[in-house]
């Protein structure tokens, strides 16, 4: 398909601007003014509409395909949430920061405060800041809070511990805050090796970052013990909320002993992923860490109205332009109050049921590195298929030809040829059965006719793309104009 720039014709116009109702002002001095055109496309509105409509048709999406991308919780995004977010479209964030402006923003501030309260109850924490703009941003914020806590106590800390099955964002976020990383291997029972953890633990460890259930979809039965060991060394426990969809109403990280958490509103709380964002990564803390939370912080006053605390000497400061990805929060808030207590519990129950069904139906056909009851996702290995020269990526590409978005492949890194499937609670048995049938077909094909898998996909606008060429050419901008 042509690029929009290749469809541009000099003189074509899209939007019509209003005529000016004020006199034309004197021009700016020439040295301040742009001499060359910014070279934006020139297309009619219909050209534009066809271009982007046709581009959209070149995507798989939750609304068009099963999308069991493990670790990403690609659940159905309720349409009503798309209708409620625009109710706040015209609320200017600066209004609330004007002197006396909070009274004009009581709706938005109230929503922020209430959402924080709901998330605190869901996770068992004492206060939640909704400012972080995504999951990784929440992780970085959480580690900054931990650094501030240690600084205030005069603790000298140097390391952050992560298991080898952790999301790459965990060590990367800790490194952004200046910590060195200690990586702990996974034990044969599928969780962080407890003995290795004990051996690595020392007084210079600032935090231990855990995902629970972990990226293998397994709930760590030793999690309480890990929290206790960390606390003995005045290290804080960080909960990566990427997999919270598995435990709503079942376990609260705060009850278990975690001190800081982030949640991904775009995973657990049903807001759309947008082709890679916007997300939202609120951070929750126990009360010892409240003084360090980002500013501005939303508070409720004695008279029940909402206000902003804009400065606080102990705060880690500001992490976003204003209050975070508010539009995403509106959707998540709507989702939470619409589902309510029982609905959220059902989310986790059905998500776990679906994942275990997937695991039961496929484990005869693919290797299971850890054959245990899984939580919301299950991890297979294509090691058996590799004997026939078929990689996880080949199976993924075959799934595309059969109309399914592939699961996450090659993650977690500690499983060879990993295939990580997260069906989510919103998928039906029929949809999963159709997917399972294709997965079994692919396993059979690997033995009988692996070439078919190597050639896939054949039904997409493009066949397999040369990633090495892309990295070598570094052609990231269409030019010249």
């Amino acid at each position: 398909m042509k690029l929009i720039y290749e469809k541009s014709v000099a003189g074509r116009r899209g939007l019509k601007l209003p005529a000016s109702d004020v006199p034309r002002a004197a021009d700016l001095p020439k040295n301040l003014v742009r001499q060359e055109s910014a070279g934006l496309p020139e297309v009619s509105e219909l050209d534009l509409v066809r271009h982007f409509t046709n581009l959209s048709r070149r995507n798989f999406s939750v609304d068009t395909n099963f999308y069991p991308l493990g670790s990403c919780t690609m659940k159905y995004n309720a349409k009503i949430t798309e209708n409620v977010a625009p109710l706040f479209a015209d609320s200017h964030p600066m209004t609330a920061l004007l002197p006396g402006g909070e009274s004009s923003s009581q709706g938005a501030l109230g929503l922020l405060f209430e959402l924080g309260g709901l998330l605190a109850e869901i996770t068992g924490m004492d206060e939640v800041s909704c400012q972080p703009l995504a999951g990784a941003h929440g992780e970085m914020t959480g580690i900054m809070l931990i650094a501030a806590y240690h600084r205030a106590k005069g603790n000298r800390k140097k390391y952050v511990i992560v298991p080898d099955s952790s999301h790459g964002t965990n060590p990367a976020s800790a490194a952004m805050v200046g910590y060195e990383i200690i990586t702990i291997p996974t034990a044969p029972y599928g969780d962080m090796d407890l003995d290795a953890f004990r051996a690595a633990m020392n007084g210079e460890v600032a935090a231990v970052m855990m995902t629970c259930p972990n990226t293998l979809g397994l709930f760590n039965p030793h999690i309480k013990e890990i929290c206790d060991i960390a606390h003995e060394h005045d290290a804080l426990m960080y909960y990566d909320g990427a997999n919270l969809n598995a435990i709503l109403g079942k376990v609260r990280p705060g009850d278990v002993g975690f001190d800081v958490i982030h949640v991904n509103l775009h995973k657990t709380f049903g807001t759309p992923h947008g082709g890679g964002g916007p997300g939202s990564g609120p951070v929750g803390v126990k009360k010892e860490l409240i003084p360090f939370l980002p500013t501005p912080r939303v508070i409720m006053q004695a008279n029940g109205s909402f206000a902003l605390e804009t400065s606080n000497p102990q705060s880690i400061g500001r992490l976003a332009n204003f209050f975070g990805n508010f539009g995403v929060m509106v959707k998540a808030y709507a989702y939470i109050i619409m589902l309510g207590r029982e609905g959220l519990i059902e989310v986790s129950e059905q998500a776990v049921l679906n994942a275990n069904y997937m695991m039961a139906q496929l484990k005869g056909h693919y290797d299971v590195p850890f054959d245990l009851t899984c939580m919301h996702e299950c991890v297979f290995s294509a090691a058996r298929q590799l004997k026939h020269g078929v990689h996880a990526i080949d199976i993924a590409k075959y799934l595309i030809d059969r109309g399914h978005h592939p699961p996450t492949v090659y993650f977690p890194l500690n499983v060879k040829e990993a295939i990580m499937i997260e069906p989510t609670e919103t998928e039906s048995k029929e949809t999963m059965d159709a997917f399972i049938a294709v997965m079994i077909e692919a396993a059979e094909m690997a033995e009988k006719n692996p070439e078919v898998l190597h050639e896939a996909p054949l039904t997409m606008p493009v066949s397999r793309l040369d990633e090495t060429k892309a990295a070598r050419d570094q052609n990231v901008c269409f030019g010249p104009w």
Partner: protein, 442 residues
């Protein structure tokens, strides 16, 4: 209600296949003592009830006639932006890890990268960052990596919120940040040049700056480069329809917030941050980058590229911890700029400039009002009032007008200063009315 389609019969069949007696049994790996001690949430509600509740809540935000910016601007959003970005194939997809079934998102982001390069006059752009403030912090960290140095010089006329984000990001890394106070809304070139040493990683400026002042930063680029430092500029994208591009001034890294490009105010987010640089620094860029390539049949296609910089490969050695981008907001920016088009952007910038110049004249003529100085501005300018600006703004809010951003909270000794923003959405009538209200308040 959870949008789960499973019927009791489905559940029975699935449990039988698993070999479990009940759904509860699947939660057996969780020890009893770790079970939730509370889950005191309200009961659920229907769509109809939800809509009523949300309207009630949103109704508590008071509509105002806004002359405020602070980094977020009330621009008109063409209808095509909502309609096209509202296609579920875009908004219910995720990061395009599987390029063959994600060419829609990938091509759109490649077109986005191109439009950012053209707008800023730079050579390469990533596929977007979270927002303008975090993009500035990422740019600062990028400059530290590129130069291997440890000191930043930042002009105080850079948006105070962005400066605060930069400080938050860098607090734990032992980076020295030297802030240069502004002289009457203008960058203090003498102080800035004096602060430049061979340990300076970057000079950070904003154009137009927080006071609204428009400048040509070419001489500062030269001064920075002589010391081996980079020039980072933060820009307001709509202004680039009129103002000299940062690329033409010699900037090395350009960032900004994409809210004004088709993203609603929405109480501060989501928008997107853009970052663009020159080819030689591409490997130091944070975040996703889309590259052009060929498929097995020689057909053009697009993929995520240079992923070896990123956290999912490099973990703690990555250029940034960022994972997601603001893809959908960036798509809105692309659709917006395509709809406005080549000549439209020039006209739109002119409309903003003309209205602001008109407002400057009318408001500057009010008794008790002066302009901070006579420097060129784009669509924001700073007034000096005869009274405390915070008190005036508070008073005018009661009559439904957000008259501007008082500077007292952000700059020492500027209690009487007010930054007024005018976009194409403000009418002559509204501007004239503001002049009358201001006169009455002073």
């Amino acid at each position: 209600m959870s949008y789960s389609p499973n019927t009791p019969e489905d559940i029975r069949e699935m449990l039988a296949a698993i070999g479990a007696a009940s759904v509860d049994e699947l939660f057996a790996p969780i020890p009893a003592e770790l079970r939730a001690q509370s889950f005191a949430l309200p009961g659920g509600m229907s769509e109809m009830e939800l809509l009523r509740r949300m309207k009630e809540l949103a109704g508590n935000d008071r509509p105002l006639i806004g002359f405020i910016g602070g980094g977020y601007y009330d621009h008109y959003i063409p209808a095509v932006v909502d309609h096209l970005s509202g296609r579920a194939e875009f908004y219910t997809a995720y990061t395009p890890y599987q390029p063959e079934c994600s060419q829609g998102t990938l091509q759109a982001l490649f077109e986005y990268q191109t439009i950012i390069c053209r707008l800023t006059g730079m050579e390469v752009s990533n596929a977007s960052l979270y927002d303008g403030g975090t993009a500035l912090a990422e740019a600062a960290m990028m400059a530290l990596r590129v130069t291997g140095r440890n000191r930043l010089v930042i002009d105080a006329a850079v948006n105070p919120f962005s400066r605060e984000i930069v400080r938050t990001y860098l607090t734990n890394l032992g980076v020295e940040i030297i802030e240069i106070s502004s002289k009457n809304g203008l960058v203090d070139r003498q102080a800035l040049t004096a602060a430049l040493t061979d340990q300076t990683a970057a000079v950070i400026l904003q154009n137009p700056n927080f006071f609204g002042t428009v400048d040509d930063l070419s001489d500062i680029a030269t001064a920075a480069h002589e010391k081996g430092a980079l020039l980072i500029t933060s820009v307001y994208p709509i202004s680039l329809g009129m103002l000299k591009s940062p690329g033409a001034m010699g900037a090395d890294i350009v960032v900004g917030d994409g809210q004004s490009l088709g993203n609603p105010l929405s109480f501060g987010g989501p928008s997107f941050g853009f970052i663009a640089t020159t080819k030689k620094y591409i490997r130091n860029l944070p975040g996703r980058i889309i590259g052009e390539t060929l498929d097995r049949n020689g057909k053009r296609g697009f993929v995520l590229t240079l992923q070896a910089r990123e956290q999912h490969i490099k973990r703690h050695k990555a250029t940034s911890n960022i994972c997601s981008n603001q893809s959908l907001c960036a798509l809105r920016g692309l659709i917006y700029l395509t709809s406005v088009g080549r000549e439209g952007l020039v006209e739109l910038a002119r409309l903003n400039y003309d209205k602001a110049e008109y407002a400057k004249g009318v408001l500057g003529a009010v008794k008790g009002v002066q302009l901070l100085n006579a420097v060129p501005t784009f669509n924001e300018f700073t007034l000096v009032l005869a009274k405390d600006a915070a008190a005036v703004v508070r008073q005018l809010l009661d009559s439904g007008v957000a008259a501007g951003v008082p500077l007292g909270a952000y700059y020492e000794g500027m209690d009487n200063c007010l930054v007024v923003t005018v976009t194409e959405k403000r009418t002559k009538e509204e501007i004239d009315a503001l002049a009358k209200q201001l006169e009455a308040a002073l």
